[in-house]
């Protein structure tokens, strides 16, 4: 059984995902991201490519959601963890559907308020985190530290 599916967009979200990856290095893990060759560059063998999307491109978003959903159904991870953005949100949502525990770490880029994807994830994620202590609230998101 797969322990952890770590999923994020390419670029900054992926860099942050890699920086928190030591937190699940003992568990069997798979990765999903949106840039071809990115997982290989980090020496990851079980990396999966998913289409990129954002909320300004609804058709891409539907395609992205379906592919991420299929991937989660196939892998059945115990935990889904994401640093954003939209593809990560879909990963958490699909994880929730298939009984996984879900962890959202909002990108460090969101220093004034939690991202749109992050706020949506806040509705259902088992662990909901911001990387800025001044954005932490009692009802969430919580602040556990940051990659920066």
């Amino acid at each position: 059984m797969l322990g952890v599916l770590a999923i994020s967009s390419g670029g900054g979200h992926w860099e942050q995902l890699q920086l928190v990856a030591p937190s699940f290095q003992e568990a069997p893990a798979a990765y999903a991201t949106t840039i071809e060759g990115l997982a290989e560059k980090y020496g990851i063998k079980n990396g999966y490519l998913v289409p990129d999307c954002n909320r300004n491109r609804p058709v891409d978003s539907v395609r992205c959601f379906l592919q991420v959903f299929r991937l989660v159904r196939q892998l059945r991870p115990a935990v889904v963890i994401s640093t954003g953005a939209a593809p990560g949100l879909f990963g958490l949502l699909a994880g929730k559907v298939f009984g996984a525990k879900t962890i959202w770490i909002d990108s460090i880029a969101n220093s004034e308020k939690v991202s749109m994807s992050g706020r949506l994830a806040g509705w259902f994620a088992d662990v909901w985190l911001t990387q800025w202590s001044h954005l932490e609230t009692q009802s969430g998101p919580r602040y556990w530290g940051s990659v920066l």
């Binding site: 670029g11 942050q16 935990v79 962890i103 990659v147 920066l148």
Partner: protein, 177 residues
């Protein structure tokens, strides 16, 4: 060499254009990763995108990196200890959906090695300086360690609770005692 990178998602013509105008007055050549932009630089070499391995190689070869205020670039600059000049995308120029890059810059001003230029004049001044301070890796470690430790603890708990074999043996163990 000065490495210009505008990230993987959106064009950033204003930054490319500004560097193109500054290039003749600088003592070092520029190489640009400029994305799908409508503006083509005349005074330096460029490409649209770089494969991850080539990107790292170029980054390491640079003496200074100029970029949008993207977190990926900021983390990479810290990893390779390269002085970084960040030039935030601004919503008023339609360079991003909102002004989160400006907000990031305000938070980054205290970080050693990250130099913020919010307009063309500030960018020029930073580029003409003889040397720029590089980032220090160690400042990141405490807060990152904290995050990773707490995540690891939580993930271990989730996996143990979700694994039928583990939870069964735990239940049996509890019955024996």
């Amino acid at each position: 060499m000065i490495f210009l990178t505008i990230g993987t998602q959106l064009p950033f013509d204003r930054l490319v254009r500004t560097l193109d105008a500054l290039a003749p007055s600088l003592d070092r050549p520029i190489f640009g990763q400029i994305g799908k932009t409508s503006y083509r630089p005349r005074n330096f070499e460029y490409c649209e995108g770089l494969q991850p391995a080539a990107f790292d190689k170029t980054f390491q070869a640079a003496s200074t990196v100029v970029s949008h205020a993207g977190i990926g670039t900021i983390l990479t600059a810290r990893k390779f200890r390269k002085p970084l000049i960040v030039f935030p995308r601004q919503a008023k120029h339609h360079e991003h959906r909102n002004d989160h890059q400006l907000a990031t810059c305000n938070q980054l001003r205290a970080q050693p090695g990250v130099h913020v230029a919010v307009d063309e004049q500030q960018l020029k001044e930073l580029l003409l300086r003889s040397s720029l301070e590089p980032p220090e890796e160690h400042v990141a470690l405490r807060s990152r360690d904290l995050l990773v430790r707490r995540l690891r603890h939580q993930i271990d708990q989730f996996i143990m609770a979700g694994d039928p074999a583990t939870s069964k043996s735990r239940r049996e163990g509890a019955g024996c005692s």
